[in-house]
Amino acid sequence: MKDLVRLRTSVKESVELALNQQIQMEMVSSSKYLAMAGWCDRNGFDYSAGFFYKQSEEERSHAMKIFHYLSDQGGTAHSPEVPAVEQEFDSLRAVFEGALEQEIAVTDSINRIIVICRRENDFATDELMKWFVKEQMEEEYIARRCLDLFDQIPADQIFELDKQLASVTYDGAPFGE
């Protein structure tokens, strides 16, 4: 008797479900960052707005990376439903705090997928997720460093703060890339 399921796809159902949930999470992140960019734009934080527009694009590209992977492996990738996200924020600091919280939630989710992959012996998806682990290290670093700047730059130098926030990058490269 042929193994029709394996002939169709190398991705187990539990992994497919987790990846579809991750696609949705990345798209929700993209939507949240777009709302943050819009708020920054409306309130004159041009540099931060640029930072979040870029973040929004990046999150979408992450979702697409998983979407293409799942489709290429014979799985079924679902175009996700994206619920309404918060459009207003109390302050610029609150925006960046929200960004860090979102990145931590994404990291936790990636880690959970890796646990599922290892339980199912899905080494291909595990390999894909390793790329996301490194990406999340960078994302969390940047979000945390941005929040540090709020303590380091006086509140009355808001233009300088806005400028510095958008210039934060990660060049630690502990994996030598």
Partner: protein, 124 residues
Amino acid sequence: MIVSARTTSSAHAVEIFRTERGAVYQCDATQRLILDFWDTHTALSTRDFAQFRRMVNTIDVQQMALSTGSAYDVEILAPPRSERCYVLTLCEIIHLRELLNGSQLMLDLNSMLRECGCSLTSIA
């Protein structure tokens, strides 16, 4: 409920799961799963079978059970790429779920056995 892996009258169709209400067969020649439910036969690819199972599993049976509105008496389901349309009551949905999920379990078991170097039919 009977779980078996015996060959049917068709040379290539193997019964992979059966309940009192129906059965699911696998045809290796066409690589299709044949759903036999309430005297209907529907051939589905594994992808469509998985999609149809998801459709059946995501029906809110609790709402169907609790709601007094006639709109909740039945659920209309069309398997992907099939001309068939099922109009199912709550009980029929539960029976269909049992059949589809049991079949999926057997398909997963076959995958596990294949990884170990044997198959469902060779141990039946």
